[in-house]
Each structure stands twice: as structure tokens, then as C-alpha cells.
């Protein structure tokens, strides 16, 4: 049988569509239904219980604010660390480029959990790092582990490669002749960077911040191992509701609220940063 020209795209689309429906739409439907149930395990009842949503917001607003604060701070720090690094790898590393790129990805050969647990040792009370911080007066209470600072440090470290790689990719694509042209036209080095390099690397920056901020907002591993009772994020609350309190409806509602809030934040950000920046020149 010969496939018509018109059916080919749909045939190509089908595997992806089925995958998306099976593993995204269907679970989403069940989660949505679950989030509107009430009662305890064994006697859950679907009754359009919208209070799960209002409760989610009113009970856990602190953790929401904290999650976005930690994720935002971690994203900002990661950006400050990642940009110069990506710049060096793209333009100045020469034959070391591949080695440096490998070094960025190398930690990923260890599992996420082990990488996070390693920070327990790095930030342990008797570690040199903490002793230096303590001498500088930067460790109130004499410890760093089990504080918000440790959680942010963990998030920054764990998601840093997601910031570095997109920025590197967009810098590497830049035609150096454009920078040379800017200099030929009497732009200073800083001027050329500010008016040519930075705008051209904006897609990488936007992609990097999203790839860092979104997973960091929903993370619970860092807060669980590096934080204390006052530093738990919204992911920890959802985990606790699901697995420890078996309060499935509230956990489902909270997950939806988190998804919605992240989507709103991302839309606002893209609006502000411009979708062109995200998609690059192809969007034009």
C-alpha cells in the first residue's frame, strides 16, 4: 500500500502522540480526578472537592514561596558561574575544549543521589570549607549543613550543567566574523561583547535558566538531605503527602498547583525575554 502524501505526517506523528497520550494525558486525567476526591485511603470519594486546591495554597504557601526563592537564587548563581565558563570553553579553550566539556558532564556519571550526599561531607561541621566560612562569619550557628544555604548550594551544583551546555551551544554557534566586524567598526572589547556576543547568546541563556529553574522548583532531594525542618521545599511536601500521609487528593492538587505556577512563571519570563530569544533566529 502506498501512503498518501497527506497521511505520511500523521503516521510519523502517531508514535509520539500515542506516547504523549499514554504517559502524559492519561495520568494527568487520573491525577485531576484524584485531586477532586475527599476522604481517607480506602474510602476516597469523587465529589468535586475543590477545597483540596484552596487548602493546598493556604497551607503550603510558605513552601511555595521558599521553593521559588531557592530555585531562583540557585538559577541566578548558576548563571553567574556558567556564563564565563561557557564563554571560555567556546572561545578560549582551544584544544582543551572537549576535555573541559567532558569535565562539565563528568559528574553525571554518578547518580543524582550520590552527588547530593557528597555535599553532606563537603559541608560537614568540621570540614575545611565550613571552618573558613565560620571564620569569615558566614556560617551563623556554626554550621552550614541543614540550612537553606546548603540547599541552594546543592541545587546550584546539581543543575549547573543544564545552564552551561545551552549557553555553550549558543556561544559556539556565533560567527566570530561578527565580533571581528564590530571591532573593525571601533567597538571596544566590552562593547562588542555587550552588543554582539551577549544578544546572540540570549537563546542559550533563556534555555539554560528554564532548564535550571523548572526542575529546581520541584526538587525535593536537596532539601531532604542538605536542609532542615525550616528549609523543606514544595516537592518535600508532595512526597510526604503521597508516601507518608497517604493523602493522595491533597498531593495531587498540590502537584497541579505547582505545575500551574511554574507554567505561569515560565510564560511571564518568555514574554519578558521574548520568544525569539528562546527559539533563536529560526522563530523570525
Amino acid at each position: 500500500m502506498k501512503l498518501g502524501r497527506r497521511t505520511v505526517p500523521y503516521a510519523l506523528l502517531a508514535p509520539g502522540a500515542v506516547w504523549l497520550v499514554l504517559f502524559f494525558v492519561v495520568p494527568l486525567y487520573y491525577m485531576g480526578k484524584l485531586s477532586l476526591e475527599s476522604g481517607t485511603v480506602g474510602s476516597l470519594e469523587f465529589n468535586w472537592h475543590w477545597a483540596n486546591y484552596s487548602d493546598a495554597l493556604s497551607l503550603y504557601d510558605t513552601q511555595f514561596v521558599r521553593s521559588f526563592l531557592y530555585a531562583g537564587t540557585a538559577t541566578a548563581i548558576a548563571l553567574v558561574l556558567a556564563y564565563p565558563l561557557a564563554y571560555v570553553i567556546a572561545f578560549k579553550a582551544g584544544r582543551w575544549r572537549n576535555a573541559l566539556l567532558f569535565a562539565v558532564i563528568a559528574p553525571f556519571f554518578t547518580t543524582y543521589l550520590i552527588r547530593t550526599l557528597a555535599w553532606e561531607t563537603i559541608l560537614s561541621d568540621q570540614s575545611p570549607v565550613v571552618e573558613v566560612l565560620d571564620t569569615l562569619g558566614l556560617a551563623p550557628g556554626g554550621h552550614v549543613l541543614a540550612t537553606g544555604g546548603a540547599v541552594i548550594a546543592g541545587l546550584t551544583y546539581n543543575f549547573l550543567p543544564f545552564m552551561i551546555l545551552p549557553i555553550y551551544a549558543s556561544l559556539e554557534r556565533i560567527d566570530v566574523r561578527l565580533i571581528e566586524a564590530a571591532k573593525d567598526l571601533y567597538a571596544s572589547a566590552a562593547g562588542a561583547f555587550w552588543r554582539v556576543t551577549l544578544p546572540l547568546s540570549a537563546p542559550g541563556v533563556v534555555a539554560g535558566t528554564l532548564l535550571t529553574f523548572i526542575p529546581a522548583s520541584g526538587d525535593y532531594v536537596n532539601a531532604q538531605f542538605l536542609g532542615s525542618a525550616g528549609n523543606q521545599m514544595i516537592g518535600n511536601v508532595i512526597q510526604s503527602l503521597y508516601l507518608k500521609q497517604t493523602n493522595y487528593p491533597s498531593a495531587a492538587a498540590l502537584s497541579f498547583v505547582l505545575t500551574a505556577l511554574i507554567m505561569v512563571a515560565v510564560l511571564v519570563y518568555i514574554r519578558f525575554a521574548g520568544s525569539e530569544a528562546l527559539m533563536g533566529e529560526e522563530a523570525r
Binding site: 492519561v26 480506602g42 474510602s43 513552601q63 561531607t121 554550621h143 541543614a146 525542618a229 510526604s240 497517604t246
Partner: protein
């Protein structure tokens, strides 16, 4: 004009395809069952029906490293039952989360025995997920279960739960860094600020704090649970409590990040072997006694073999092998005498064979129930996730 018509037709086609796949998927999901709602009634607990001599296959779910190497094969040889022994219980709540959708439909996932802690056994029983024992198949269990374990509040007749191993929750301290911590109340002493940790396991931490407050946790009401949780909250806010942990307090004690924690007796035997400065202490207020229990879930295949297994591990000679390997508190009478000959040091260890005077102030791990449980758990989790 023609172009826009084409577009509409394409869109319609896409939508149709989507709806078709979605319907298919939903149908599949419905066939697969799932969902977490039950039928809303607590089922009348069924009882094991014994069927002649044990035979066939038996699947057991237990915690990791909780049995010696020979007991399973010895049982297979003696009984003719073929055993599939799986170590897939790591956390009561998570195991419950995994099994609950099946149990809600009266199935046990092919397993005939779970090993779960007291409160979880209680919870499963309340939900109608467990079968009652038939005492006819359990003569050794009836005879050899140690007296103090015979009537916990949630199962006074031991009608559906048989202890696998027991343990104590009390104080684990660094004797070099916190030599003076002897009571739960000492954990609130400001000189240990930021160096104290408690367990995320509510039913260990909160009852011990109640004991410090002079409240008997056995039969404590909701107000008393919440008052103890308030006290813990205060210690979190003042920075007294560094964090809440599971077994990972071991790391913090070893590094000295924590000097005194609420901890489990079984861990301490091993920790002490690595670091002689770590010691488990019986709090002056007493400890919490808990047991992990063998239970037979609803829909369990081959309950006859399940009872045969339970009865088998209650023979003192069999239990001695297990006790020698796992170093927890054995629930079986007569094991100490056997081990006294094999390994006198082990038989003298109070953490493995506590005598009555050692545990005189201890309480069997209490648990709130029903709606009270959800409220108290939520309050405690609010402290952990504050």
C-alpha cells in the same frame, strides 16, 4: 478558501486520531484497574482456611538483611514448600503505597506474607487488608511467643500479626561529645543546640517526647500527641534540633555533626563496632518497643504454607540462627539459652536480649488511628516540612 478548508480537515483528522488513541488508552487503563479508591467499607476480616499439609509455593516480602542464609532452604527441605523470599520492604509507608491499590481490590500481588511494623499492621487490619490466623496451624507461635509481646493494644489476641523481630527506640549518643545525655529531656538542653537529631518516624519520636513531658504514650489522646509535637516544633524554631533523619543519623553521629539523637537499638550494635564512641542508651524515661510483624494479606495464595512458615520460625532452634545473624531483639522464648552455648557474648548483650528490668519503663509503640491519625500525622509532617 480551499486552503483553509484543507487546514480544517487536517485539524479534524488530528483531533480524531487523538481522541481514538486517548479512548484506547483509557480503555487499557480501565482494564488494568488502578486508582486508589476502595469500596468505602471496612471488609469483614476473613480468616485463614487451612488445607491439609503445607505444599506448593510461598512468596514472602521482608526487609533487606533481615534473615540468615540457611533458614529459607531449611524450611523448604523440612516442609516441601518452595519459597520465593523477596526483600522489597524498605519503608512501611512506601510499601503500603505500592501494595494499597492491589489490596484495595482484595489482591496481594502473589505474596502470602508481608513483614511490616506494628502501626502498619494495625492500619492494614483496619482497612480490612489482612486475614486472621487460624491458631490450629500455629502451635509453636502460641507456645513460644515471649510474654511481653502477647497482647499489643492493636492486636490483643495476636489474631493477625506475628512478630518477626523487635527493637527498641531510645538514645544514640557520642559518649565523647555528649557524655551527660541520659534522658529524652536532655536532648532539649541548650548546650547541645544544633547537635540534636530526631527520627522522621513519628511513632518513635513523638511518644518519646511525651515520656519526657510525663505523659504515658500508651492511650495518649489527640491533645497529648499535638502537645508533644508543639514541643518539638519549639525545639526546631530555637535551632535546638538540627534535622530529622532516618538511618542517616549514623553519618551525622560518625562525623560529630550530631552528638545525641533518637535512634534504634539494632543500628547501634553495628555502629559501635565501627566507632566505640557511639553508644545506645536506655533513656531514663524508658524506650519505645516496636516489632516488625508477619501478616497474611487478603487474597494471599497458599495461606496454609504461610502459617507453616510463621510457625517454623517460632521454633527456638530456627530462631537462634536468625537472631545470631540479625542482632535484633528476638520475639521467641528459649533462644537465649541456645545462643548462650553457641555465642555467650551475644547472649549477654542487653540490646539483643534485654531483660525485664532493662525495659521496665518501655512502651509498646503506640499509634493514633482513623481520622485522629491523619490529623496528627499532618501536624507532625508540618513540623518536618515547616
Amino acid at each position: 478558501m480551499g486552503n483553509s478548508e484543507l487546514k480544517t480537515r487536517r485539524l479534524a483528522l488530528i483531533l480524531a486520531a487523538l481522541v481514538a488513541t486517548a479512548t484506547l488508552a483509557l480503555g487499557l487503563a480501565a482494564c488494568g484497574g488502578g486508582g486508589v479508591e476502595g469500596d468505602g467499607e471496612t471488609a469483614e476480616a476473613e480468616t485463614v482456611k487451612l488445607a491439609g499439609k503445607p505444599s506448593g509455593e510461598l512468596t514472602i516480602s521482608n526487609w533487606p538483611l533481615y534473615i540468615d542464609e540457611n533458614t529459607v532452604s531449611n524450611f523448604e527441605k523440612q516442609s516441601g514448600v518452595s519459597v520465593k523470599y523477596i526483600e522489597d520492604v524498605n519503608d512501611n509507608a512506601e510499601f503500603f503505597g505500592k501494595m494499597q491499590p492491589l489490596l484495595g481490590q482484595g489482591e496481594s500481588g502473589g505474596r502470602s506474607i508481608f513483614v511490616v511494623t506494628d502501626w502498619m499492621a494495625n492500619k492494614m487490619h483496619e482497612l480490612g487488608y489482612l486475614q486472621g490466623f487460624d491458631p490450629a496451624g500455629l502451635p509453636s507461635f502460641e507456645k513460644n511467643l515471649r510474654a511481653e509481646l502477647k497482647s499489643p493494644s492493636y492486636d490483643p489476641e495476636r489474631a493477625f500479626s506475628a512478630p518477626w523481630q523487635s527493637g527498641m527506640t531510645g538514645l544514640t549518643v557520642r559518649t565523647d561529645l555528649a557524655p551527660d545525655v541520659h534522658s529524652i529531656c536532655d536532648l532539649f538542653d541548650p548546650q547541645y543546640k544544633g547537635k540534636v537529631e530526631m527520627l522522621t518516624e513519628m511513632r518513635d519520636t513523638v511518644p518519646l517526647v511525651m515520656k519526657c513531658m510525663g505523659v504515658d504514650p500508651e492511650g495518649a489522646d489527640e491533645g497529648e500527641w499535638l502537645a508533644a509535637i508543639d514541643k518539638i516544633q519549639g525545639a526546631v524554631e530555637s535551632g535546638q534540633i538540627r534535622r530529622f533523619t532516618g538511618n542517616d543519623y549514623a553519618r551525622d553521629l560518625t562525623s560529630g555533626d550530631a552528638v545525641a539523637v533518637i535512634g534504634w537499638s539494632g543500628d547501634a550494635v553495628q555502629l559501635q563496632a565501627d566507632n566505640p564512641d557511639i553508644e545506645w542508651r536506655m533513656p531514663t524515661e524508658g524506650c519505645i518497643l516496636w516489632s516488625d510483624n508477619m501478616v497474611i494479606p487478603v487474597g494471599a495464595p497458599n495461606p496454609t504454607a504461610a502459617e507453616a512458615w510463621i510457625d517454623y520460625v517460632y521454633e527456638p532452634e530456627v530462631q537462634a540462627d536468625i537472631a545470631e545473624y540479625v542482632n535484633y531483639v528476638t520475639p521467641v522464648e528459649g533462644v537465649k539459652e541456645i545462643l548462650a552455648e553457641r555465642d555467650p557474648e551475644l547472649a549477654k548483650n542487653q540490646l539483643i536480649f534485654p531483660d525485664e528490668s532493662f525495659t521496665k519503663n518501655c512502651t509498646i509503640q503506640p499509634t493514633p488511628t482513623g481520622e485522629e491519625e491523619q490529623k496528627i500525622t499532618a501536624a507532625f509532617e508540618a513540623v518536618l516540612n515547616g
